[in-house]
Symmetry: C2
Subunit: 290 residues, 2 copies
């Protein structure tokens, strides 16, 4: 069995589906690895790092698709409609493609791939249960996203996150409001707390209150009926327009008191809320008393 | 007595010498405050915030220089040679100018100002002793610089600062090497530690070892004679070329093991070391084992 690793074509995508470190395990399982030239370069892994672990470098992307039984990608066609479409004609009958595919919002792409006789594994649909933990592609990325969001917020905010008690006076810690307390939200809370910010967090699922509080954040409770906000898999469900309206109203008040807002809310298969309905009021950059 | 606050002219300078919060204290001391239009705008303080505290807004910068007995600036002429020179002809006999001036490296500018019959207070030369703590303009800025350097490094590094222990494996913490353990260096160490990085720190002054270690960092000791590295004021002294050479050699090894290097070394009145003699070896972005 040959496992092929192709270079990502989604603009801005720097990851690679397989890092050299996993090649040993694949070798033991009897797999050969064939990489597209430069496949891991943007992620910091030159071709040589793969070759050192026993991989072969193909002449081209087409050659990888032609020879590999399994193709490993990060953003496969469905998750990369514009630039991924070119892969369609390279796919072969009975080939297996593994990667993120966003199948719930890319139904036509699923049909296209099925039409080529290809078996597709949309990695983001693998349930995040104990048995499937080794196949979880979401938790690690959510962790990084939550951490990175805090760095970006701290860098952009014209105020320091930690409380500073100096001879010249005391600076109050920044107040950050984290919306959504899944893996990304909890990591954002933890990172904010590490940096010394004061954190309020909100999630439609009241069950996460304890997790939020264990990280030293305040769980914000809005007066909303939340009994059906969580689906059977533990994910947040989309809310009705009425409840959304009331939620926005209540949250706007909290946002007004916050220096930064980090949104991590997502509902599987739906577009994540990208924009805010009101701009956070940045606090005055310096509140040192004379 | 009228205190004048002018808008900063150094490109990229967003600070303002006086914030509205201090106007009350100046008022009690019998001072009036006259600001140049937009003086505090880049710092987040519109003219109205000054007016609310009793300040008057002048028609122009020239009007401020014409009427104020004391001019408060952040980067005065000597610290802003190109754009600050225009202020020279606005200065009046017996006027007092307070701001950072970098007089040790801008001797001609000092002479220019003296030639105008002006009394100049170069704020950065006020000794950082207990009695002068209320006039210390360096410590607060060094604190912010140390904190900000860590945010920039964490954002730029293709690796997370904290150790991550997850179901999918463990990620080792980033290793950061902080050079110089004055106010900025110590704040950089503290901020790195907050984010969970492992920190090595170096300073030519062995006396700071305890401070470095109290923040959870490892103090790096290089085999160099360091008995005369600190001057009477507790600042670092410049080193001889021979010792520098040997120091570089030893430090290059540590840098090779580091994910990020933060340099805070400075010697008063000398140019701070801006560039490195070797590029830090960025570690491979992902070291998760399969």
């Amino acid at each position: 069995m040959i496992v092929g690793v192709v270079k990502e074509t989604l603009p801005g995508e720097r990851r690679v589906a397989l890092v050299p470190a996993v090649l040993g395990a694949l070798g033991k399982a009897g797999c050969e690895v064939l990489i597209e030239p430069g496949a891991g370069e943007a992620a910091g892994y030159p071709d040589g790092a793969y070759v050192d672990r026993g991989a072969k470098v193909a002449g081209s992307r087409a050659e990888v698709f032609q020879n590999a039984g399994v193709i490993a990608q990060v953003a496969a066609y469905g998750a990369n409609l514009e630039h991924g479409r070119a892969d369609l004609e390279l796919m072969r009958q009975q080939q297996v493609v593994m990667g993120m595919f966003e199948p719930l919002t890319s139904l036509d792409a699923v049909k296209d791939v099925a039409g080529r006789g290809v078996t597709l594994f949309a990695m983001e649909l693998i349930p995040r249960i104990t048995r499937a933990q080794s196949m979880d592609v979401l938790s690690s990325m959510a962790t990084i996203a939550g951490y990175k969001a805090v760095l970006l917020a701290a860098d952009a905010l014209p105020k320091m996150f930690p409380m500073m008690m100096t001879a010249a006076g005391t600076i109050a810690p920044a107040r950050v409001f984290v919306i959504g307390a899944g893996v990304a939200g909890l990591q954002a809370i933890a990172s904010c707390r590490r940096l010394g910010a004061q954190v309020d967090a909100y999630d439609v699922r009241p069950a996460v209150k304890e997790q939020v509080e264990s990280l030293g954040a305040k769980f914000v409770e809005l007066e909303l009926e939340t009994d059906d906000a969580e689906d059977a898999g533990g994910y947040a469900k989309e809310m009705s327009e009425d409840r959304l309206q009331r939620q926005r109203q209540l949250m706007t008040e909290i946002i007004g008191d916050s220096d930064a807002v980090i949104t991590t809310a997502a509902v599987p298969g739906k577009k994540a809320p990208l924009r805010f309905w009101s701009r956070p009021t940045w606090s005055v950059p310096c509140n040192r008393a004379p």
